[in-house]
Each structure stands twice: as C-alpha cells, then as structure tokens.
C-alpha cells in the first residue's frame, strides 16, 4: 500500500484507539466496539446491585447458571440441564471444564458459594431470588442440589439472577475487591474501570462458549439521550442504549445508522384506591377524592368505565410516538403465562358513561391522578392525555406530577387514590404477585399494588402461581388470573414501552427484553 492510503488509516486507527482509551497494538487483534450506556455501574459486585445498567456491564464478565434469551425464554448457561427431583428439590447439572478468568475451576462448590453469598451477605440485594433455597448442596463436581423451604416453581428463573463468583478470589479480594475488579467465567475479562468515564473489557481467550466477534469492548456511560445520539451520529460510538423518541426518525434516516426496536416488558398501568371507603385526608381516607365523598373505585363498574374510557392506541400513537404497544393484559405476549384469549376492552366512551351512570355517577366525579414526571418515557405527557380522555366521560381529573424521589415513597404508603406507575420483571408470577396480590407483610405480596386492590379469590389463584409445581395446572392458573383481572379490573394496564437501540450499519445484535446491551451478541457484517 502506498503511504497516502496507509497514513490516513493509521491516523484514524490511532484516533479511534485514543478515543477508546486503548493502546494501538491491541487494535490488530480484532474488532473493538464502543457501547454508550445510559449510566455507569455502581459496583462490580453482582450481589450488591439490582440495577439493569449495572447488571448489563457485569454480565459481560460474569455468568449465571441459567439465563434468558433476548425474548425472556429460559436457556442453559453454566448449568447444562436441570430437573425437579421432588416438589422441594431441584437438581442442576453443571458444565464441566469451565474456568474462571483467574484459573479457578467453576464447579458445584463455586455455585454453592455464589448462591449462599446472595442469600446470606448482609448487604445482598438479591435475597428475594434465593430466600427459599434452604439448603444448597454440592453433590459432586458438576451436580448441585437445592432444597427449598416451599415448592418453588420459579427457582430455575430466579437462579438466573445470580452470577457465579470464584470462591477463593472472593475471599481474598473481599467485598472491596469484588466491587472494583470482577472475576467470572464470561466471554470478556476485566481490563479497567474509570468511574463515570468507561469500562474496558477484552475477550476471554479461554472462553468455554462461542468466541465473541467484538474482541475489545468499551462501555461509556452517557446519561443524556441527546448526547448519546450525537455520539453515535458523529461516529464516536458503535451502539447506543435508548434513543429519545423525537430523535428516532433522525437516526433511522441518517445513512450509515440503524434503529433497532422491540416491544419491551415494562408495563405502564393505572391503579385505583380499592381499600378506603371515603375521600379525605391520608392515611385514614382516600386523599385524591374530595373529603366526605364515597370512594367510587370500590364499584367495579367505575373501574370498568375507566378501562373503556382510555384510548391506549391514541396514547401510543400521539404521546409515545409509536414507541409503545397497547397492553392487552398485565403480561406482554412473549412472557410465560400470557393468555392469548384475553383482550383489553375496546375504547368506548359511551359504554364508559353508561357504566358510570349505572354506578350512580351520571355527572362523573372529581379525582386526583398522581404520576411520576421523571421515571418513565413521557410519563407526564401520558398523564395529561389521560386527563383529557377521562374528561370526555365526565371525570374531572386533577393531575399531580411528582419527581420519582418523592413519588415512590408516597406511593409506598398508599398516599394516592388514582396513580400511574410501571412494572418490569421477567418472571411472570412476580408480576401478578406484586401488582395484584393482597398487600400483606406476611406473604410479601402487593409490592406494586399501590391501590391496595384485594380479592380473596384472585389471591388464592396467585398462591397457585407461586407454589404449583405441575406445569399444566400452573399455566391454567395463569390463564385464570388474566381473565379474572379483565373482569374485576384490579389494575388498568395501559401499554408496554418499547426498547430502542441505535447502531452503526454493519452491526447486528438482538434487542434484549431484560434491557441488557451485550457486546458478545454483536455480529459484524
């Protein structure tokens, strides 16, 4: 090659390498990739976090026993297979010959150590996934047995949240070391982490699985969506997480870039106070209803009326710019237990009016709607749209927007009569338990049930979801809860937010419903 060709190439290469913070000599080994994430990891200790941007970074280096594919289907990872020995015992067969980045062998002892750390570490934020695992036994090198205190049909999914750690390293490095420098079995090894600037990873040459095409990965946290888009369009980064809705058409139209999108699992829904009888001062009375007035939401016809009065299609198209999908029920269609027969009632304001009149509110009523203003995509604007739609059927809505730091603590003590929030897990039973289970510290149900809706009948079926080990009976129960909720309207599901990624042309990668952006899933054309 002549120098007029090579020189610009070398300059470009050096420039790219400098941008990525790497030495030019590594450039020749393979294709580097730069990912712009919406936030930095807080810690590299997998047991001390529950935030998906952090999990996404860690997942490059650390692996669980079971995993979910981009569409939430459970797949083997470090466990090759599993079975329920009896209703209280699960057995996992682990992959053999897998080693951690530091050379420690991955085996049943390591798995036992990791699970017990998630369960017993005083600061662990993952106890919820493992607290039923009473006894974890390493039967031999590759066999792990888990004895549970109660039947645990979701154990295989739950255990997917726990990343495997090398016991010797964990003991030597301590919490401080694990928090700063992770060692796992994953496709990438840790290189460096400069807080709020970048995480750098390199391909693990001894990886047990398929070798990733992206050999060197830099993850840059860029919290502002508009800046992420600029970084992509300027060619600084290869992949960006989350594009602001107004910028989507611009990225899609710009030559050399693509937008990847998929319906996500985050449900946005409305909850109505179903516990207090009258309006008035919180906590004794329902705070969003005029003092002394009866609480209209105790009447199922009012809840049904609200369901019919809301035009989700219009919200999706007009407010969400098409970047959402109307929700037919609590679960998205790709998740286990989705009932294909249950559809949301069609938008029908005259039916809503009729139902309100039957319930004794021919002229409607006044209610306060609480919404967060910085938590979900366009949350405040969706609140405004709801005010308009409900006014068409005679409901006077006072919109009350709050930043999330104020909003959620208030919702937790049920300081609301009508509120909007979102919910996201990939474990179907948790969705039902949290959103529609009767609030009860003994069972732990009702984490996201800010309206304190409680139906003894529904609660019994939710118990079945959480304990039934027979697949058929369990699936039937899932179908049943969806039908029941469609009739009794314990919550009004609105829509599922879309997941949006931007990439350079020539890069393919699946959009994952767990919101992770994983470099080893990238393929180059």
């Amino acid at each position: 090659m002549t120098s007029w060709i090579t020189r610009p190439l070398v300059v470009a290469g050096v420039a790219l390498a400098l941008l990525a913070g790497i030495a030019p000599k590594n450039y020749a080994q393979g294709r580097p990739v730069i990912i712009a994430a919406s936030g930095d990891a807080e810690t590299m200790d997998p047991m001390l976090t529950a935030i998906s941007t952090t999990g996404s970074v860690q997942r490059h280096m650390l692996e669980p026993l079971t995993d979910n594919d981009p569409d939430a289907k459970i797949i083997p990872m470090l466990a090759a297979s599993w079975r329920a020995v009896d209703t209280l015992t699960w057995e996992f067969k682990l992959r053999s010959g897998v080693r951690f980045h530091n050379g420690e062998p991955f085996n049943a002892e390591a798995a036992k150590f990791s699970i017990e750390r998630a369960r017993d570490h005083p600061k662990s934020l993952q106890k919820a996934y493992v607290n039923l695992m009473k006894d974890v036994r390493a039967v031999d090198e590759t066999t792990l047995r888990i004895i549970t205190s109660d039947p645990s049909p979701d154990l295989v999914a739950n255990i997917g949240a726990i990343f495997m750690l090398p016991p010797r390293y964990a003991r030597e490095a301590g919490d401080e070391g694990l928090g700063r420098k992770p060692v796992g079995t994953g496709p990438y090894r840790f290189v460096e982490w400069v807080r709020d600037e970048r995480v750098v990873l390199e391909a693990n040459p001894n990886y047990w699985g398929p070798k990733p095409q992206a050999t060197r990965v830099t993850i840059r946290p860029i919290p502002e969506g508009a800046t992420r888009v600029a970084a992509l369009l300027a060619g600084e980064v290869d992949v960006i997480e989350g594009i602001p809705i107004p910028d989507v058409p611009r990225v899609a139209k710009t030559r050399g870039f693509k937008v990847l999108r998929k319906q996500g699992p985050r449900l946005i829904f409305l909850a109505m106070d179903a516990s207090r009888d009258r309006g008035g001062a919180h906590p004794q009375f329902s705070p969003g209803i005029p003092a002394g007035q009866p609480n209209p939401f105790k009447d199922v016809r009012v809840r049904q009326a609200f369901y019919s009065a809301i035009n989700t299609k219009e919200i999706v198209e007009q407010v969400m710019g098409g970047a959402a999908a109307p929700a037919e029920q609590i679960l998205p269609p790709f998740m286990y237990g989705y009932n294909p027969r249950v559809r949301r009632p069609s938008y029908d304001p005259s039916r809503a009016k009729r139902l309100l009149a039957e319930a004794g509110y021919p002229n409607g009523f006044t209610v306060r709607l609480d919404v967060p203003t910085d938590r979900y995509v366009n949350d405040r604007e969706v609140g405004l749209a709801l005010v308009g739609m409900l006014s068409r059927v005679g409901i006077t809505v006072q919109l009350n927007g709050m930043p999330r730091a104020i909003y959620f603590p208030r919702m937790r003590v049920f300081d609301t009569s009508l509120q909007m929030s979102g919910w996201l897990t990939l474990i179907s039973s948790i969705n039902w338990t949290a959103m529609l289970g009767c609030v009860d510290p003994k069972t732990g149900y009702g984490r996201a049930n800010y309206g304190r809706y409680c139906s003894a009948e529904l609660n019994r079926i939710i118990d079945v979801l959480n304990t039934e080990m027979d697949e058929k009976k369990r699936l039937a129960a899932f179908y049943q809860v969806a039908e029941f909720t469609r009739q009794d309207v314990g919550k009004i599901p609105l829509y599922f937010e879309e997941l949006i990624r931007g990439v350079k042309d020539g890069i393919s990668m699946p959009v994952r419903v767990d919101e992770y952006v994983l470099a080893h899933e990238i393929t180059f054309k």
């Binding site: 807080e42 709020d196 730091a405 603590p409 937790r412 919910w423 897990t425 732990g444």
Partner: protein, 305 residues
Amino acid sequence: MTRFLFNRLVQMIGVFLVISMVIFMLLVFTGDPIELLLPPAAGIDQIEAMRERLGLNQPWYVQYLKFLRSALRGDLGTSFYFHEPAIRLVLERLPASLELVIWTMLISTAIAIPLGVLAAARPNSWYDRGVLLGSLVGISAPTFWIGIVLIALFVVTLHALPSSGRGGWQHLVLPVATLAFYRIALFVRLIRAGMLDVLSQDFIRTARAKGLYERVIIYRHALKNTLIPFTTIAGIQMGGLIAFAVVTEKIFAWPGMGRLLLISIERLDYPIVVAYAIVTAALFVVINLTVDVLYALIDPRIRYE
C-alpha cells in the same frame, strides 16, 4: 488575621451542623430509597426488613444523631448503591469538576473584563449597546439548550469535537463554552456597571485633571476599584459551578460531582447527598476566605483584625 481565621473556622463547624441537619430532615421527610433499591422480585416483607437494617424506620433525629456520632469518627456514611464511603465517592470526582470550573472561570474572566471595560469606556456607543444585548442573550439562554446546540453544531455537523467524556483539551471545549456563556454575560455586566460607577467618582476627575493617560486611568485606577465587587461574585459563581454544574455535566457526560449529585438525589442516596452538602459548604467557606484575603490584596485599606 489569626483570630479572624479562627472565627471563620468556628463558623464553619456551625455551618456544617446546620447544613447536615437541614439536609437530613429534608431527605427523611421525602421518603426512603428502598423502593428504588430493591429488585422487583423482593416482596414488601423484604422492604420492611431492609428499612430496619438501614435504620430508616427510626425518627429523623435518631438517624441524625447516629450520623453525627459516626461523623465525629470521620465516617460520613456509606452509599446505598455504591457500597463505598460517600465522602470518597464525592472527593473522587472533585478533580474533574475543578478542571471544568477553573477553565471556565479563567476564560470567562479573560473575555469579560476587556469587553466590560471597553463598554464602560464608551457608554451608549454602538459597541456598548451590542455588548449589553449580547450579554442579555447570554444570561437568558438556558444551559441545556446551549449545550445541545453546541453538540449539534460541533459534533454532529462539523465532526470537530468529541460529544462527551473527559480526556484531552478537545473534551473541555464544549462544556467550558457552555458554562462560560452565562458567566461571560454576567461578568461583562458587572464590570461595566462597576466601571461606570467608579468613573464618575471624584478621584477619577482628579486623575484626569492631573493629565494622566486615559488608559492608565481606566486600567490602573478604575478597574482596580471595580474588582472588589467582581471578586465577590466570581467567588460565589466558582463555588456554585464546582458543586452545581449539574446540567452541563450530565449533557457532556463529564465525570464530575454534579452528575453524582443528580443521580443521588434521583435515587435518594442520602449519605452521598449529605456528604456532598458538607463538601460544598467547605468549598464555599474556603472560597469566601480566599475572596476576603484577595480583598486585602486588591485594596490595602481593607484589614482584618
């Protein structure tokens, strides 16, 4: 001077006590972070257990006294999310913030002083009116908007500068420009107003009557007297920038303190917010002290007894 410094130190401790208490009360009455901290899989039973473990179920004064007790031992608490000492997380980001602020102050002052002096030297001229109008725009334009416009122009269209992050001088240009925009406008107005005020005073007339060069009058006599109020405002601006360049740091993904504050407030990470407030208070005390000392240097008539 020693007595003066000692008094300031005592004041500083008082300021710390008041600030930490106010912040503590505000945060405790806002609510707790558990809802945001625990994964969705955790039930409400675990939420209660977590509140208890972190001591968040106690009344605010109990929590505050506990905080004070460990603060006396030098421990300002551990972040709920980072699981590291809050003060370390804040101080780790101080150099990045300082880098941004020092450049912003240097550039703003270097541009604003000549602009303001010239405007004051020729009041009501076209030049003066232009400077006033320009500074009005600078004061009114929101930081967020300036940042986004600069990115659209220099990053996306011209491919001339990096969009974000910290690195070489190229990374400094856009965030410094964004921050300097408002400061230049503010300082120009301050210098101009101060100069006009001083130029109308008797000693300037005397100086002119003595036949001094106009340049000497303006730079040696008038500007020096204008610098006292200017230094005060510049000091306050500097403190404010170090602590609260929140929007700019977010837009340009600058790894400074403001970005940490923003995310900690959003997620109710109390220990960081409290540690932050204390570091900020300390910064302001130091800056005010420096300003007071500068007074004495600029104006020999000022003495501290």
